[in-house]
């Protein structure tokens, strides 16, 4: 399929990109890795008059630690996340999660910022961001603002990002030492979105859970934070009974859309199953 005609812009700085967005107005779309936008354009579901390619803005790439915070440029590719030594050491959940995204070819082009900004509940990064308690730097004509991942996702393809803003950076507090992590994803085949997936960060104190953070992928119109399950687990030991209850509480908030992956019952059950398995795996990795 062939997209409708569009003009292509390739600014070299965030400031230029923001200026372009202002000039071009609502007919402009930001192009990150393009692996969601371009297929929609080829099917002519999306027909933006202008594409503003962020791919040549060097300041939007890279992974670093500043104080107790990991900072990731929004145009950092999934492949770069996968090969980051810093992330492997400090935030391995992100590395594990990125490895479940699409396939190697897509991961060379797809970016963390694009994945988040698209606002698709089937994307993997939103749940990872929820579990990691990340914040996002949104840059616009009036400067920067920082918003929490929790609360950023408003609805299907809808986020707090304003039309004249760009998501420029992801900030992740370095998880407490000894935290366990896991991203469990059920998908039909390589490259598919999740039938259900759960991201978990888990801190243990002795035999009991000190803190659990749980994000659910593709379980509703946005990524879901499993608050009740998180609250329930605090102070509990991880055993069959607590896993079952946490899974039940996660399933309770699910409102999945039926599609070729399965009906709502199956997807809800799989959300519970992935939650259970993610908690188990995170528990096995956690050090008290």
């Amino acid at each position: 399929m062939i997209p409708a005609a569009f003009d292509y812009h390739a600014p070299r700085s965030v400031a230029d990109a923001i200026k372009l967005l202002g000039q071009l107005g609502p007919e402009a779309k930001l192009l990150a890795g393009g692996h969601s936008l371009l297929p929609m354009m080829k099917l002519r579901f999306a027909q933006p008059a202008h594409l503003v390619d962020l791919g040549r803005i060097a300041e939007l790439r890279g992974i670093s630690q500043v104080g107790n915070e990991i900072r990731i440029g929004a145009m950092t590719t999934e492949h770069e996340l996968l090969s980051s030594k810093l992330l492997a050491e400090k935030a391995p959940l992100l590395v594990e999660g990125a490895g479940w995204i699409a396939d190697p070819q897509v991961r060379y082009k797809g970016t963390i910022g694009g994945d988040i900004s698209h606002g698709d509940p089937a994307n993997d990064h939103p749940a990872l961001m929820i579990a990691l308690d990340a914040s996002f730097v949104l840059t616009g004509p009036k400067g920067e603002r920082v918003v929490k991942a929790d609360g950023y996702f408003l609805g299907l393809y809808s986020t707090q990002l304003a039309a004249d803003e760009i998501l420029t950076q992801i900030r992740i507090p370095v998880p407490a030492a000894g935290s366990g992590w896991s991203y469990q994803k059920l998908k039909r085949k390589t490259g598919d979105f999740a039938t259900a997936a759960t991201a978990v960060m888990l801190q243990m104190k002795g035999k009991s859970v000190a803190k659990a953070a749980i994000g659910l992928t593709n379980a509703g119109p946005t990524v879901l934070k499993a608050r009740e399950a998180e609250a329930y687990l605090a102070g509990k030991e991880i055993n069959d009974a607590s896993l079952n209850e946490a899974a039940r509480l996660a399933m309770k908030i699910c409102n999945p859309t039926p599609d070729q992956r399965g009906d709502a019952d199956y997807k809800r059950a799989m959300c519970g199953e992935m939650t259970r398995r993610a908690l188990q795996a995170a528990h096995a990795r956690a050090k008290a």
Binding site: I2, R188, K189, D192, T195, D240, N244, Q260, G262, M270
Partner: protein, 804 residues
């Protein structure tokens, strides 16, 4: 050097039959130097893009081209009205029906071709497509074939509502195409009446699509000055395609050239003549410039040759030990909107009556009812000879169902019913003469290789453990295939017999060019045919060039489908080579001044019996044949052409075994082991055979585990892109273990039978049998494909297996 070593060295030099010669074609492909239709660029070429129907069933009230014609780059918009003057708005089908080239009055399936926009480049053509305004009045659609023959069902094909038959017997309903029967119904009914054990199961072969990596397309180039039409096209049947074009267009067949070029996979999807080819051809004739049309992936999956959609019912009658006494198989066949189902004329339901499989079954009856629905036409694609997958799926599933009812092991039920080695050639209840086989030996070899008893013990232990998170299933499939169509006395398409051909020219220095009527799509023909000639003529395979697909160069043949290349053209190759060898022998006798009877053949030369120092190598004879030093009256050259009409089809077989582990909580099926033993008779290139088996098993895995074309009640596609449609990658694909026995075909000059389709036909029931076997101890006798995690979980959930 010892004599044996010297002989061995000479033989190895040829790289003939039996050696795993690396594929000659791959040097090009792995360097990206293939030449596919989409690569062709011609001066002044226009691009065609098709306007497709958003509805499965609708009346077309009007088509407004004005906005599209005003679009920069758009040259013309063709609709059915434009094709009418040249009488190409409809075209006859091989199945005795007619098919709309561009929708006339009505659309009958979603994505049906409605108009073609011609433009100076591809982007402009698609801009034009978006601007063609079609006024539709939506009509109720038939999606479920079971509803097609209801009294108050909407009439789909108003254009043929008065036709009492479509060349395959009387029609009983406007949506009915044909009813086909074989065997002896009265005898079968009597067997069921008297049998102590009967089993019955409803078994679906869902609608799937082979989804070749390269979609369909063509470049049509009509030269107004010479009246000569050249069509570069993705076709598995270039010569038959040319014949069809001549019939459709009225252009003399001698002025039409069809070129197959490199084809990126076919699997039967590239046998039919699609509307896009016809419209592009008309467009080139009208405009006088070349016209290119290339499908998108969604176009390919939505509109071109699908496979299956056979809604079967299997019934077996047996004695108390499970020895089968009768078989009744029926199927409701969804042929889509037009009967463009490709098959040999006398076989409207293909070779479905091979459904007795590998078993000696008396009292057999089968019947197929074909109906129209609001879905794309087709049905016979996908790596099997015309409904063989459907037939073998039914019998291999029913053997398991019978074993469970009788209470015997699934390997044992097969042993009790196999045709025995000493019974070959064996004529089945439906009249097929199975050429050769050794079924017991094949199954026993597999069972021993995998330690079948050990696997069953492990399974029993798992079943006894309520805490086991997984279910274990063991599937067996002992299939017999029917390939190599086929004998002209029973097999023709449009009156053209399904023989095939090979022309061999030997050059003075021993180089050889061979041209065949088949068409490779990745099967490795350049290598396999060269190896046959290498062994037959004693000339090295490396110097033998194989050409196919250009109708101006190659002799006539029926193309490549139904695993017919080796059984038919491979035979033609051997016959042509032997004609050359016979002539070479005469020359050798003349040169050595002996009688022909005094010569014997040894690898690459004729030598005088009892006087080994007196010999003439084939290479020497190649040069001499181009001189005047020949027997009196002999013409120069070493050339031959052979047209081979096979006396029978061939019947490859195999024994497959699959072990699966099923996650009770997610429904995911993991293939732990798959052991495939194939017997395709004489093996020409073991590496290529292994590759074919790997490919066929991977496609079988795809069909059994994930492929299906889903529709909603209005006939809208719900999964026609690779987002949903399952094409397994290296990640999903299990590791294959292959094995073989060799039972040569008695009627093929080389003893070869063909292999490409066996793993698909035999693999699909093996996967299904494994998945269902995992639930067999819970009384489950059947589950329909595809065995996706979702569907398997539903079974686990219904049985309460996923309770924590």
């Amino acid at each position: 050097m010892s004599q044996t070593a010297e002989l061995k060295e000479r033989e190895q030099k040829l790289q003939g039959m039996g050696t795993s010669l690396l594929r000659k074609e791959d040097a090009r492909f792995i360097r990206g130097q293939g030449s596919y239709v989409a690569d062709i660029k011609m001066p002044g070429m226009l691009f065609g893009a098709i306007v497709r129907s958003p509805y499965a069933h609708a009346r077309i009230k009007g088509i407004d081209k004005a906005k599209a014609l005003a679009c920069p780059g758009v040259v013309a918009v063709l609709t059915a009205a434009d094709l009418k003057p040249v009488k190409l708005d409809w075209m006859p089908t091989v199945g005795g029906d007619v098919q709309a080239v561009l929708a006339d009055q009505k659309v009958h399936f979603q994505y049906q071709d409605v108009a073609m926009v011609l433009a100076t480049d591809r982007a402009a053509a698609y801009d034009g497509v978006a601007l063609v305004e079609v006024d539709y009045e939506e009509l109720p659609a038939i999606v479920d074939p079971k509803k097609a023959l209801l009294k108050d069902a909407p009439v789909l094909r108003e254009d043929i509502v008065d036709k009492k038959d479509l060349t395959h017997g009387p029609r009983t309903h406007p949506n009915h195409i044909f009813t086909w029967e074989a065997g002896d119904k009265a005898a079968a009914d009597a067997a069921f009446k008297n049998a102590p054990i009967t089993v019955r199961e409803e078994i679906l072969n869902p609608r799937v699509h082979p989804c070749p990596l390269e979609t369909c397309g063509c470049v049509a180039s009509f030269n107004k000055a010479t009246g000569y039409l050249t069509l570069y096209v993705t076709t598995q049947i270039p010569h038959l395609f040319r014949t069809v074009l001549a019939m459709l267009s009225g252009i003399a067949e001698s002025k039409i050239r069809v070129v197959g070029g490199d084809i990126g996979g076919g699997f039967g999807n590239k046998v039919p003549v699609y509307p896009g080819y016809v419209v592009a051809t008309v467009a080139s004739i009208v405009t006088g410039v070349p016209v290119k049309w290339i499908e998108s992936r969604i176009d390919n999956i939505s509109t071109t040759g699908f496979a299956r959609d056979y809604h079967g019912v299997g019934e077996l009658a047996a004695d108390k030990d499970g020895r089968i006494k009768g078989l009744r198989f029926t199927a409701l066949a969804d042929h889509g909107a037009f009967n463009s189902h490709v098959s040999a004329t006398k076989f409207p339901a293909g070779l479905f009556s091979i459904c007795t499989g590998s078993y000696a079954i008396p009292n057999t009856y089968c019947r197929v009812d074909a109906v129209f629905t609001n879905k794309a036409p087709g049905g016979v694609a996908y790596r099997c000879s015309l409904r063989v997958t459907e037939a073998i799926y039914l019998i291999e599933r029913m053997m398991d169902v019978l074993a469970q009812k009788v209470g015997v092991d699934k390997a044992e039920i097969r042993r009790r019913n196999f045709v025995k080695a000493e019974q070959f050639p064996y004529t089945t209840g439906f009249g097929w003469t199975l050429d050769s086989g050794n079924y017991h030996a094949a199954l026993d070899k597999v069972l021993k290789a995998v330690d079948y008893e050990g696997l069953r013990r492990e399974q029993a232990a798992k079943r006894a453990d309520p805490k086991s998170p997984t279910l274990m299933g063991i599937g067996i499939s002992t299939f017999t295939e029917i390939v190599g169509a086929g004998p002209t006395k029973v097999c023709d398409i449009l009156g053209v017999g399904l023989f095939d051909s090979c022309e061999i020219r030997v050059h003075p220095t021993g180089g050889v060019i061979a041209r065949l009527g088949t068409m490779t799509q990745g099967q490795g023909h350049s290598t396999t045919y060269a190896q046959i000639i290498a062994t037959e003529l004693g000339l090295p395979a490396s110097d033998i060039v194989v050409e196919e697909g250009d109708t101006d160069k190659a002799p006539y043949g029926a193309g490549t489908w139904g695993s017919r290349s080796t059984p038919v053209s491979g035979a033609a190759t051997a016959v042509a080579a032997r004609k050359i060898k016979d002539k070479a022998k005469k020359i050798a006798a003349h040169l050595l001044e002996v009688a022909e009877g005094d010569l014997e053949w040894e690898i690459d030369r004729f030598k005088v019996k009892g006087n080994p120092s007196q010999f003439k190598t084939m290479k020497e004879l190649c040069l001499v044949s181009h001189t005047g030093n020949l027997p009196a009256g002999m013409e120069q050259g070493l050339n031959a052409v052979a047209y081979y009409d096979p006396p029978n089809l061939t019947f490859p077989f195999g024994a497959y075994l699959c072990v699966v582990d099923i996650d009770k909580f997610t429904g995911e099926v993991k293939v732990r082991r798959f052991y495939a033993l194939d017997d395709c008779g004489t093996r020409i290139n073991p590496m290529i055979i292994d590759g074919q088996v790997h490919g066929g098993l991977t496609e079988a895995f795809a069909v059994a585990m994930g492929q299906q074309l889903p529709f909603d009640e209005s006939g809208n596609h719900l999964g026609n892109s690779l987002m949903d449609y399952f094409l397994p990658t290296a990640v999903e694909t299990p590791a294959w273990e292959t094995d073989h026995t060799v039972t040569p075909c008695p009627h093929h000059p080389l003893g070869a039978k063909g292999v490409a389709e066996s793993p698909h036909v035999g693999g699909i029931p093996c996967f299904s049998n494994a998945v269902i076997d995992a639930f067999a101890h819970l009384g489950v006798t059947h589950m329909d494909m595809p065995h996706s995690a979702y569907r398997v979980w539903q079974k686990c959930n219904a049985l309460g297996l996923n309770k924590r």
